[in-house]
């Protein structure tokens, strides 16, 4: 009787292990085909202007925001994808996750490529592409936001450690 119970437990245990291995294998192999990392971008921007833009109240002590943006692209499209934004109210445990697509033109450059980072119930963030490695924050009128002596409204591509 005890031997039968032991055997059943053993079978369940082996089945569970096999299931986990299968899940991990498929999970890992599926991820890269779902999305491809375009880049990781970091930067420090002034706080008050972006808080106003994002319609999020902050205290007057907030002088800078540290950002980290992961841009992912759909494998079949270079003009859309998903993103993960960390910084400001979007903490590590609760990042801003959403979809992006590209639009063309800023107020001063009709040919500029702009990433529009959509977010449900909130204003999109607009980032002008500068070369392959720089992103500039745009305001409502699609002008590059003007920073100060200490911080600018730009993100820079950084190597992923």
């Amino acid at each position: 009787m005890e031997n039968t119970s032991y055997s059943t437990h053993r079978k369940i245990f082996i089945f569970l292990i096999a299931f986990c291995i299968l899940l991990t294998t498929f999970g890992l192999s599926q991820k890269p085909t779902d999305r491809k990392l375009v880049g990781m971008f970091d930067g420090r921007t002034p706080c008050q202007e972006l808080a106003r833009f994002l319609e999020t109240p902050v205290t007057s002590e907030c002088i800078k925001i540290k950002w980290r943006l992961f841009l992912y692209v759909h494998p079949d499209s270079q003009q859309s994808g998903t993103y993960e934004l960390l910084g400001f109210v979007y903490e590590k445990k609760n990042p801003r996750l959403g979809k992006w697509h590209t639009i063309k033109g800023t107020k001063t450059n009709p040919d500029a490529l702009v990433y529009q980072l959509d977010y449900e119930g909130k204003k999109p963030i607009l980032l002008q592409k500068g070369g392959d490695n720089i992103l500039f924050f745009l305001d409502d009128e699609k002008n590059i936001m003007v920073g100060n002596r200490d911080f600018s409204f730009a993100l820079n591509r950084v190597p992923r450690k």
Binding site: D42, N109, G130, N133, I144, R149, L155, V158
Partner: protein, 165 residues
């Protein structure tokens, strides 16, 4: 007895003459001032002839560029560089000062942005010219000699912001 109206009229005339004399003067010598903090890249170090082993995390810039028409374009640069003082926006021991004056040329159109201009800053104190791309009237971005954007890091970007008048 001089009437109040006459005195007021006299002062109005004086004020008009003063304004007409001062205002064109200001517009002829107007300057655009750009500020910002950038990394201490090897290209910048080389331009400023800062020794390679000198402690330099970042540079704070104040660049004044003349906007006069029909005259030589000149600039004045005041910069501070050094090791970043943790938890502040400043430098350990206040940083080292640089004061440079020079001239700049304007190059129209680039491959990356046909609407952008490039400012080429030259000075006797520079080993090589500094190049700045005008993203719009308020933003200048440092570019390399091949006109590619200099890439910053998580702390600082290679960007200067116009000081609002």
């Amino acid at each position: 007895m001089v009437s109040f109206e006459k005195v007021t009229f006299f002062f109005k005339i004086i004020l008009l003459i003063s304004c007409s004399a001062v205002i064109p003067c200001r517009s002829q010598n107007s300057q655009a001032v750009f500020v910002g903090s950038t990394p201490c890249d090897s290209l910048i170090k080389s331009s400023f002839q800062i020794p390679r082993d000198a402690g330099c995390d970042f540079i704070k810039w104040e660049l004044s560029m003349s906007e006069s028409v029909g005259e030589l374009n000149t600039f004045q640069l005041f910069a501070l560089f050094g090791i970043s003082q943790p938890n502040t926006n400043g430098f350990v021991h206040g940083g080292q000062k640089i004061r440079i004056t020079g001239k700049y040329l304007t190059h129209d159109k680039t491959d990356q942005n046909p609407n952008a201009r490039i400012f080429e800053l030259t000075s006797e104190k520079f080993q090589s010219p500094l190049l700045l791309m005008e993203m719009d009237k308020n933003i200048l971005h440092f570019v390399a000699l091949d006109r590619s954007f200099l890439v910053g890091n998580g702390g600082w970007s290679f960007l200067l912001n116009k000081v609002r008048p």
